[in-house]
């Protein structure tokens, strides 16, 4: 990405997430609380720091954005009200709005189904993984 694009994208991410990464005091409680930590390449506190530093390209390309469970534990427990999950969601939105960037395709779904899987899981995954 061009430097200009990066700056604009950072602004976009901050705008649609409503998150101000400057509020972070780097305590790491978000990452201490994250249930998907081990599955993530970049962890919640890194998302905050990296957006703050404008280092978003690695985040946009990382599978980490699809590992967030949106359980909001980091949002609730952050002492500074930074709301990392909303930042991750915004990055995921930005990513998936790029052409051809859907993380999951309808054709992938049948193979992932089992007898008991509730519809809720499918619609949620569609919302999270596809534009």
């Amino acid at each position: 990405m061009e430097k200009n694009d990066i700056q604009n994208t950072v602004k976009e991410i901050i705008r649609i997430s409503g998150v101000n990464p400057k509020k972070c005091i780097k305590c790491g409680k978000c990452s201490g609380t994250c249930p998907a930590y081990d599955e993530m390449e970049y962890h919640p506190h890194q998302f905050v720091s990296m957006v703050d530093m404008g280092d978003i390209e690695p985040l946009l390309e990382s599978p980490s954005i699809f590992k967030c469970l949106s359980c909001m534990a980091c949002v609730d427990r952050c002492p500074r009200g930074v709301e990392p999950a909303k930042l991750i969601e915004a990055i995921r939105s930005v990513k998936q709005r790029m052409q051809g960037s859907n993380h999951m395709k309808p054709d992938d779904i049948p193979a992932l189904l089992d007898e008991e899987l509730p519809q809720q899981a499918i619609v949620s995954a569609l919302r999270k993984y596809m534009k």
Binding site: R15, I16, S17, G18, P35, A36, E39, F66, K67, L69, S70, C71, M72, A73, V75, D76, E83, A85, K86, E89, A90, S93, M104, L112, E116, L117, P118, Q119, Q120, A121, I122, V123, S124, A125, R127, K128, Y129
Partner: protein, 264 residues
């Protein structure tokens, strides 16, 4: 009393019991649940990005319909409740979002008075039991108390968080389900993992992750002496059922049993 009811996709299919028992129990307790006609799926998750409009319209339609009926909007599924409540909150607090949504949903030529501004009261079925009916009345209505049962409440994440919006209970030490368990005559088992995530929809592509999360929850509940768990979320039930041996049942089923609507 009449309330508007948003059942949601799973309650019409895989989680029929959750729906059936909710309705029959409500009736016994004097609440008429009127299903919103032509409701559309809530989408299962609320996208927190403020410019995400289209995915929230189905929720607004349901909320707006309930407002026109002058009724509170009830849902049983934690995911639906989460989406409805967060959407409603956004309609109340984010004027830009609200105006864009209203541009979508109002018909051309329709008066501005038709606009929806987040005035509907959104209740989870558990809140209906606690705040409108009252656990005391439920205790009185119980015919077959579940005496001696040690039950772990499993909240998951959707019902409680983000707590500043959901405002259902103390998100770190909730008690609404425990109070419910007491109301139906059983003994609640309090365990720390009851508000941790089961792995949610990520189970679709990474079942190992949800297995890890669910196992930890079940282990913690078992270690604290739970005979079985109750939940309000079909996806939680799926993940937990798949990854452990403790039975997981919908809370409405227990209520139905306690009220004597179904045989145990």
């Amino acid at each position: 009393m009449k309330v508007s009811y948003f059942p949601g996709c799973t309650l019409k299919t895989k989680a029929k019991q959750l729906d059936d028992y909710a309705r029959s129990c409500a009736e016994v307790l004097g609440i008429k649940m009127e299903e919103i006609p032509n409701w559309q799926c809530c989408g299962g998750v609320f996208n927190t990005s403020s410019d995400e409009i289209a995915t929230k319209l189905s929720a607004v339609r349901a909320l707006s319909y309930a407002e026109k009926q002058g009724q509170p909007l009830i849902s049983v599924c934690s995911a639906c409740h989460n989406v409805l409540k967060q959407t409603n909150h956004a309609m109340q607090t984010d004027a830009v979002f609200a105006s864009r949504v209203n541009h979508y949903i109002t018909q051309p030529g329709q008066a501005a008075a038709q606009a929806y501004m987040g005035n509907t009261q959104v209740y989870h079925y558990l809140e209906l039991l606690r705040d409108i009916i009252g656990f005391d009345r439920i205790r009185d209505a119980v015919k077959k108390p579940l005496t001696g049962k040690k039950i772990g409440a499993y909240y998951g994440c959707l019902m409680l968080r983000p707590s500043s919006t959901m405002k259902m209970d103390d998100a770190e030490n909730p008690r609404i389900m425990e109070d419910f368990i007491r109301a139906i005559g059983a003994e609640p088992v309090i365990y720390a993992m009851r508000n941790e995530c089961c792995g949610g929809y990520v189970t679709m592509e990474d079942p190992a992750l949800s297995q890890k999360k669910s196992t930890a929850i079940l282990r913690n509940a078992e270690a604290n002496g739970a005979d079985f768990l109750i939940t309000a979320c079909p996806l939680c039930k799926y993940n937990l059922d798949k990854n452990g041996n403790i039975p997981v049942v919908y809370f409405t089923e227990l209520l139905a049993r306690a009220l004597g609507i179904v045989e145990a």
